[in-house]
């Protein structure tokens, strides 16, 4: 069940009405929230729901052993193995098997591994990451062992289960058990939901048509088309994912949880380091705390720091998908971050005089370099395999087709709108909130109806899937 559908709207209205009536009664509130989450997830597939319940129950048993017995390390390791294995079977098994087959085939060693006909459960990467971080937090005694209902409510929490943001257990439990729920502003929620709808329903669905085919058959497009397709994909992945995060945050607010900042105008970044502080923030922080720091972070010298950075980004790439293109995407971001750190670590060696002479021009150059790097890296992310990515870049320099096909004012307008959201999104949001904060409820209804109607009318008749549902 996708968020921007009438089906979800009806579901949510029923759930919200129930939650509103039980909000002050914490125990009942938790039960209603848990049942709602399970019901929401069952709409995807009953089999997926059974898997989620199995994973939650099994991990809770491990968590109890970890918290209550003396075999803490054993429980942690077995928990990590189980969860990495669980993720591995559903997401990576076929990739590893086919990759191993390729290697053996090259060596002319006969091999024939079975390929599993499995589809990864929706949000498996997101809920497995939450389970893993919970295990580690309990092992490090950062959080006490929760009761089962709290734990199950956290793992299955429906606004975040399919595509994040990846919330942390400590903050979640605190809000879940507090009788005082997050005191949202109506205008704040409306802006989050409208922003999510506009990004996902209107902008993302529009851009999908300009990226779908060029990323699959780049040889059918001209050089300028491919450049526009690459920029469109940068815009698409941003509006698609941040739109989902906005919707998830808006719904979370209504259920009594504080919104989690997941995107903060990432394409205005002046460096790759800044980009990762603004892009998919909950994942970046998760990787930092549960991968980069355990590897040693920056504690063991600069060389080790760079190696750790590269490994963390490669793992981050693999988390996004089972494919060499995702690993490569992670690695080039890791290398980019290393270069970024090198420039900061040895400023005297490559000091850039331009900063002083032409500060604005230098800023523009930094922005352009960062945006170009990120956009080029998305090509590896968005194309189905390495060969297509290579022919995409080859097509930019040596196009097989000369005709400019994507010369539409609508496309330029959408890119400009997304540019504006990236540079002045906070101000636009504030302005809308001020407009909607008027006390007159009639005015609010008219304005919101008008905005929703416009979004729906500008949207397509069919909607492409959320990109991040695949992860």
């Amino acid at each position: 069940m996708l968020f921007p559908t009438y089906q979800f709207l009806v579901f949510f209205l029923i759930i919200f009405s129930a939650i509103v009536s039980v909000k002050p009664q914490v125990d009942l509130y938790k039960i209603v929230l848990l049942v709602s989450s399970l019901l929401f997830y069952s709409f995807w597939s009953f089999d997926f729901l059974l898997l989620l319940i199995f994973s939650t129950v099994y991990n809770y048993i491990i968590l109890r052993v970890l918290c209550k017995s003396k075999y803490k390390k054993f429980a942690l390791i077995s928990g990590l193995i189980f969860n990495i294995g669980y993720l591995g079977i559903f997401k990576y098994y076929n990739f590893f098997v086919t990759s191993l087959f390729e290697v053996l085939n090259q060596l002319q060693i006969p091999a024939d591994f079975p390929v599993l006909q499995i589809i990864a459960p929706v949000g498996v990467s997101f809920y497995t990451f939450r389970i893993i971080s919970h295990l580690i937090d309990c092992y490090q005694q950062k959080i006490p062992c929760p009761n089962f209902v709290d734990y199950a409510a956290y793992i299955t929490y429906f606004p975040q289960i399919a595509s994040g943001p990846i919330s942390r257990a400590r903050e979640f439990y605190w809000q879940l058990n507090s009788p005082e729920k997050y005191d949202y502003k109506i205008e704040e929620v409306i802006v989050l939901i409208l922003s999510g709808l506009f990004k996902k329903y209107t902008l993302s669905s529009f851009l999908f048509n300009f990226t779908d085919l060029p990323f699959k058959v780049p040889q059918q497009y001209s050089s300028i088309d491919l450049i526009l397709a690459a920029i469109s994909y940068s815009c698409l992945i941003y509006v698609d994912f941040s739109g989902y995060s906005d919707l998830a945050n808006g719904i979370s607010c209504l259920l009594g949880f504080k919104p989690i900042a997941n995107f903060n105008m990432p394409y205005r970044s002046l460096s790759l380091q800044e980009f990762w502080k603004r892009w998919h923030i909950s994942l970046s922080e998760w990787l930092r705390d549960y991968v980069y720091f355990p590897f040693g972070g920056n504690k063991y010298g600069k060389l080790r720091k760079y190696v750790n950075l590269l490994m963390t980004m490669a793992i981050g790439g693999l988390w996004h998908g089972a494919g060499l293109n995702f690993i490569f995407w992670g690695i080039i971001h890791g290398l980019g971050l290393i270069v970024n750190h090198l420039c900061k670590d040895i400023p005297q060696a490559i000091h850039f005089k331009l900063d002083y002479a032409f500060p604005r021009f230098a800023k523009f150059c930094s922005w352009l370099l960062t945006f170009t790097f990120v956009t080029c890296s998305w090509v590896f992310f968005g194309t189905p395999n390495w060969e297509t990515a290579v022919s995409f870049f080859a097509g930019i320099f040596h196009p097989a087709v000369a005709t400019f096909q994507f010369n539409f004012w609508q496309l330029y307008l959408v890119i400009a709108v997304i540019g504006a959201i990236n540079f002045w999104g906070d101000r636009i949001s504030q302005l809308l909130q001020t407009l909607l904060s008027l006390k007159n409820i009639f005015f609010r209804v008219v304005l919101v109806s008008l905005l929703v109607y416009t979004i729906l009318m500008l949207g397509p008749s069919t909607m492409p899937p959320f990109i991040y549902f695949n992860f």
């Binding site: 709409f43 390929v115 919101v448 109806s449």
Partner: protein, 329 residues
């Protein structure tokens, strides 16, 4: 208090939206799992007017835009001559009847119009195959005028969702392909609405009859259009037991429809990935390289699998003298 105010706003907004576009609401709601088959069937009849029509036109324009890259007739280099034509191009309807030759003349080389444009029509399975065909035609035969016209989740069953008859007529008229390669079926294993408007359960006798009518109608359409040769590619053995029977039935239907047409030829791929009647996941290609042939879903080709099927089709086109390898430099 705040929650109730929000509920009031949301309810008012929903009511406003429902009344302002009731048809959209009904259509969206009828697509939910709760809706009964009767409601779903009724929802298919609902037309959504206004912006969506212009939006559809806009996307069709983008999808069709590849035509601009095709050289105009005047830009096409002069026709080559060959001693024997593979298949004669269709004669224009207003062409004069040829006058009988007064006396037999020595055999002169016949004027042949080569097969230049190739169109691949179908669902997402065709897309995987089409990419491989495009690559092979370009690399081995120097044919660049190829186009994949695919639409995911479509077929000849749910023409209410995507009308392949209208789309095929339009694209063949616009693109003027010489050869069309068709592949359907992966999304057709579902209930069908027959010509009397009655829903028929999948794989029932009535379903088979209704589907056969659809396929024959499509074959007649292809026959009536300007295309010179059509290859209807059958389904290869799936790595999914639930599709086994359906694909066998569908292949028989495609084969029968192809036989009754002058232009269409059925290419069977059923045994390509099979051994002793069972699916084989790893198959060697022409050069002996082994690889997995189907993706996790058991239906879509891997690039290796697509290459094997593509080679099969290309070989058939070579034996039919539709393709001729360009002279080596």
């Amino acid at each position: 208090m705040k929650d109730r105010e929000f509920l009031l706003i949301v309810t008012s907004v929903i009511l406003t939206l429902i009344f302002s576009n009731l048809s959209l609401f009904l259509k969206s709601f009828a697509s939910t799992p709760f809706a009964s088959p009767e409601i779903k069937q009724a929802a298919r009849q609902i037309e959504i007017d206004g912006f969506r029509k212009s939006e559809q036109a806009f996307w069709s324009k983008i999808k069709d835009i590849n035509f601009d890259s095709i050289p105009k007739e005047s830009e096409i280099p002069p026709v080559k001559t060959e001693t024997k034509a593979a298949v004669e191009p269709p004669k224009p309807t207003n062409a004069k009847k040829p006058t009988p030759a007064k006396k037999p003349t020595p055999a002169k080389p016949k004027l042949t119009i080569p097969y230049r444009r190739f169109l691949f029509i179908g669902d997402s399975v065709m897309f995987d195959l089409g990419i491989q065909l495009q690559y092979t035609l370009k690399k081995k035969y120097n044919i660049a005028e190829t186009k994949i016209d695919y639409k995911v989740s479509t077929g000849l069953n749910r023409i209410d969702y995507y009308d392949w008859y209208a789309r095929t007529r339009k694209i063949i008229n616009d693109y003027q392909p010489d050869v069309v390669i068709v592949l359907f079926g992966a999304n057709d294993r579902q209930n069908i609405v027959d010509s009397q408007g009655k829903g028929r359960a999948v794989m029932s006798k009535e379903w088979q009859k209704a589907y056969q009518e659809r396929v024959e109608r499509y074959a007649s359409l292809l026959d009536s259009l300007s295309v010179r040769k059509v290859y209807w590619v059958g389904q290869s053995m799936p790595n999914k037991s639930s599709y086994f029977k359906a694909f066998t039935v569908m292949n028989d239907i495609y084969k029968t429809a192809s036989k009754s047409s002058s232009k269409i030829e059925f290419i069977s791929t059923w045994d390509t990935f099979a051994k002793a009647g069972k699916f084989v996941p790893v198959v060697a290609n022409k050069s002996g390289k082994r690889g997995y042939v189907k993706n996790n879903d058991g239906l879509h080709f891997t690039s290796h699998g697509a290459q094997i099927i593509s080679d099969l089709i290309v070989d058939k086109m070579v034996s039919d003298k539709i393709l001729k390898a360009p002279p080596k430099k």
